[in-house]
Every structure is written in C-alpha cells, then in structure tokens.
Symmetry: C2
C-alpha cells in the first residue's frame, strides 16, 4: 500500500508517519520509484505498537526506540523484551537511603518467599521497597508481610494476563499487549479497588441512605 | 503538653504546627496564659492525619481542610467520610465525550452487575470509563467484561482492607488508615503486579538464563 493508504488504515497522519520514518521508528518501505515506496502489514502493526507506547505508555521517542530495538533483536526472548518494556514504563527509582536499602533487602526476601523469579534489576523491586519505607514512616514499624494479600491478588492477575498471551504471536504484538495491559488495566484495577472499598465500607458501616 | 513537646512527639517542626493552627487545620489548644497553650492526644492524632494526607496523599492545604471538615462533621457517617477522602485523592475526571459517556453507561451497568453499591458521583466510575475508552481506541471494540478478573482481585483486596478497619476507632484514624491504604498499598499492588508478570512470563516463555 502507498503511504496515503497506510495513513488512512492506521489513522496516523502522513507527516507523523514521515517523522517516524526519519527517526527510524518505522522501517523504510520498498521503493517503487524515485519518490514512491510501498508499505505492508508489518508497517501497520508497528504503527499500532508506536501509538500504544506513545499514547498509552506516554513514552518518549528515545524510550520507544529502545523498546522497538529490543523487539527487533533476534537474540532476545519474549520475557526479556517484556522486562525491557516494563523498565521503560516504570518511574525512576527512589534515591538510595539507609531505610531504602534495608527495605529493599526485606522486599527481595519477601519476593523470593513467593517463589517468583524476577530480574534483580527490576524497578518494581525498588517501587515495592519505596512503599514499605512510606508505610514505616507513616504507620510505624512493619515488614513486607503486610503486602501478602496484595501479592496474592497480583499473582491471580498476572497469571490470568499471561494466560491470554499467545506464545505464537510476534514479540511485537505481545509487547503491545503487555504495554496496554500494564497501563490501561492498571488504571482499571485502581478504579475498581476504590469502588470495591466504597461498597464494602457501606456494607460494613452502613449505607448513608439507610439511616 | 506544651507546643515544644507536641513538636518532638509528632516530629512536626514548631513553625509548621503554628502554620496548621493559623490555617485552622489543627484546633487551638487550651490557653493556660496569655501566650501559652496546652495540647493533648487529639492534637497528636490530628497531626498524624495531616502528615498522611500531605506526604502520602499529596493533598493541597485546601483539600486537607475539606477532608478534616468531613471528619469533624457529626452528621457524616464513616462511609461518607471515606468517600470524601477518596474523591479528594482522585485525579480530575476526563473530559466528557460521546465515547466517554457511552463507556460510563457500560461501566455503571458492569458495577451494578457486581452488586456493588457505590456513589454515582464517584470519580472511580469516570476513571474506569476512561480506561475502557483507552482500550477501545488501542485494541479495538470491547466491553467492560474485560475488567472481570481485575474486579475479582479488587473485591478480594477491598474485602480484606475493610476487615482491618476497627468500627470502634475514630473516623479520624479510620480515614488515616484508608488514605494510607489508598496511596501506599496502591503503589505496592502495582509493583507486585509487575513482578508477578515478570515471573509468569518467564515461567511461560522460558527463563533467559535457561537457554
């Protein structure tokens, strides 16, 4: 297909497609003349991934390029590409303090106790340690065991999510799925937790309109 | 106790305590002279709540004042105070569009199907509708049923969280607990979901080091 059809099918404006071509995010099409190129289904799929990473993941062009490079690297297996996408989507780690280092050790032991095998460099370990430090500072002394019910819920969710990833699909579409999952379902999970809290607080402490 | 002891026990600097007194966030102490006042345990408790709302909830002074006013209102029951705290902690609602209004209706039906009784004005309903719109725009046509596994996990978490709130405790300390829960355990839940995804992706698609 020509660039005009690629644009209408992907709903990405032509100037944006040309920007992605210049930035190397989108591979060049097959030249059919001095100024004409044709594009195929792989370009459509790549545009969809770029859109997810940009609009949903809110990644910078540099971070998008890193994730795409990992997708294109034949030496990386799917879990490694997914981990790289997770890293790109995570907030920067909190600054190292004595409290943080100690919490980080406790959290590593906690995760090992769940029998989860994770990358020791995963930013999620730092995020979890940060939550433990915040809890200790506001509530008082406590250990990572307070996270157990959340770990059980997270295990249930992660197991479900991975069961929906088709191992035969391309790394590209698996990553798109995980990024969508990471960002959009995170928002949904947070909203549902609030709604559930509202419901169970009414159930436990009485409905305002019941009085 | 004098203000100096209130400061050392609460770990809040004296100038900050005086600011909270001026702004009406902290009730005045009992005057024991022209310039001296004494404070009691309720002031300590209130300072802890302010600290949680400010540091953990990142609320503005105005939003903190609203939550404290709800805590002090004898006509409000605990669920109403908790809902008000939730509202103060939620991001502003997304702008109303045709897609959003339609998603909002679907989401309301979905939540009613869970048999959850929630405030129709809850910002979490808008947040969930926003997630549905984002999903439809990136993945394609879908309904709120895709949220079912997340709703199940949220129900499990919310049920556990409310079971830990002692109905005999003050609205003040219940709100402090919910704010801590909303903000800190949200961070923990997100981190644990990432770690769980890493583990199950390795389990399903092979450990990088196994190859």
């Amino acid at each position: 297909m020509r660039v005009s059809e690629l644009s209408s099918q992907s709903e990405v404006p032509i100037p944006t497609i040309k920007f992605y071509l210049r930035e190397g995010l989108l591979p060049a099409g097959t030249m059919t003349g001095a100024t004409q190129a044709i594009y195929d289904h792989s370009h459509l799929e790549r545009l969809r991934v770029i859109r997810v990473l940009r609009d949903v993941g809110q990644l910078s062009v540099t971070a998008i390029r890193d994730v795409l490079a990992a997708i294109d690297d034949p030496d990386l297996a799917l879990p490694e590409v997914l981990e790289l996408a997770h890293h790109a989507l995570s907030p920067p780690p909190p600054r190292a303090t004595t409290e943080h280092d100690e919490a980080r050790r406790l959290v590593e032991t906690f995760v090992a106790g769940l029998e989860w095998r994770v990358d020791p460099a995963s930013p999620a370990l730092d995020a979890l340690a940060g939550a433990l430090v915040a809890l200790q500072q506001t509530v008082g002394p406590c250990g990572p065991d307070v996270f157990t019910p959340y770990a059980q819920a997270a295990e249930q969710i992660a197991r479900f999510e991975l069961s929906t990833v088709d191992p035969r699909q391309s790394a590209e579409s698996a990553v798109a799925q995980i990024v969508v999952g990471t960002v959009i379902f995170e928002r949904a999970l947070i909203a549902l937790r609030h709604l559930g809290e509202e419901h169970f607080s009414r159930e436990r402490f009485g409905q305002p309109s019941d009085r």
